[in-house]
Subunit: 211 residues, 2 copies
DNA sequence: CCAAAAACTGACTGACCATTCAGCCGCCGC
DNA sequence: GCGGCGGCTGAATGGTCAGTCAGTTTTTGG
């Protein structure tokens, strides 16, 4: 109805961030517009002025969080030279390395919220699918890079990416739900072993023991 | 308040099943007591007579579904002799093999609902953790069985179980969210390859190609 | 300085739904 | 043939919120 007026990017992002925090705190289902408004110090009506409905707001907020998470990881990876370093770092960050920015630690929980939303919300489903494709492509690129450099063996890149991505998702679930048997060290070891064995690269100072 | 009267097991289970269907259809958040009542052909008040609150009902329903899923898979596994057959079958069923009972195909979605609920509901978190432990123990038992029989190599059983369980969880997410790149055949191949390579067992008539 | 647009707000309303309650029915033992 | 109880119900009750609206303040461009 409202023909979407030109809108301040800044305020919009402020609200998105508040929405993310609200979701982290209360969960998507229980999140209220009023919570988001309180957090930004404005009114509920304003939130609906920027986003047409609660549904849209929440879906956008989840996508926003995923994007932020991806970009943060991606940025860190580009500082590394070798493909194996990148891959190991990617694994470490996905397993919840302590050095990760605190904001991003909540993102694992947000994945689950996004998945559950994607079961019924079409927009969320699309965003999730796109995010996952990008994530797997990132892994695949690193693997191809390593193969070109002679660091990695010649395995099927797409299958490896799918394997690692799914494994990391599963690990993240355990991690965020606080399974005591899935602590960081162990999760990291399992994933790094899987990668180094599949791709045939050595991992110098790593807890590769207990193979 | 109500000191839980003796209650018909049958009716209770009927309601649980109706609740599971409702959750599948509408999602946990959107599930209404009235839906469950309609489905059992009774009244909303009765549902609350059997379960003290909506929250309890939904959590119990999710646990009930997980249990049913586990028991169905477990039953099928016991009909198989060798450990490698069991493991492959377990993988196939977890990847959404078509031969699976239709009711159980919804269960992947219910896992996600359970996870999201477990983020904030303590009872759900406990049930989920217990279910996961049982699931990993089942995998571990099969591996030990195969190792004793000389079918499998001597790898760390617990790590393997964690690895496979997480991988299957990740695969299930892709599967249930309808990722076109994660079709059954591919998911199965990835998981079976991972198992057969880790444990060193041969898989005769399998699509192990494209390793 | 002055419109006109944009940003913003408080108060309202209209659904929606979990939960409560007061009591009805039909069975069972006596 | 009745007293009581477990199983069951319909009709309130009450709280919670998304979304609307009519209007106020702030910004902006001329």
């Amino acid at each position: 109805m409202a023909p979407r007026p030109k809108i301040s990017r800044k305020r919009r992002q402020e609200i998105l961030e508040a929405a993310v925090e609200t979701i982290v705190e209360r969960g998507v289902c229980k999140a209220r517009i009023a919570d988001v408004a309180d957090r930004t110090g404005t009114s509920a009506a304003l939130v609906l002025y920027y986003f047409e409905s609660k549904d849209r707001l929440l879906t956008e907020a989840l996508a926003y969080a995923e994007d932020r998470f991806y970009l943060a990881i991606f940025a860190e990876l580009t500082t590394l030279k070798s493909a194996s370093e990148k891959l190991v770092r990617l694994i470490e960050l996905s397993c919840g390395h302590e050095a990760m920015a605190p904001v991003l630690r909540d993102d694992f929980a947000l994945w689950i919220e996004l998945w559950s939303r994607a079961l019924r919300d079409d927009a969320a489903a699309k965003k999730r699918a796109a995010g996952d494709r990008r994530w797997r492509a990132t892994i695949a690129d690193i693997v191809r890079e390593g193969q070109s450099a002679g660091e990695f063996d010649a395995v099927d890149v797409e299958d490896f990416a799918m394997h690692l991505a799914c494994l990391l998702d599963g690990i993240a679930v355990q991690h965020v739900l606080g399974d005591p048997e899935a602590d960081y060290e162990r999760a990291r070891r399992i994933c790094v072993c899987m990668a180094s064995e599949s791709l045939g690269f050595g991992v110098p100072a790593l807890v590769t023991a207990k193979v």
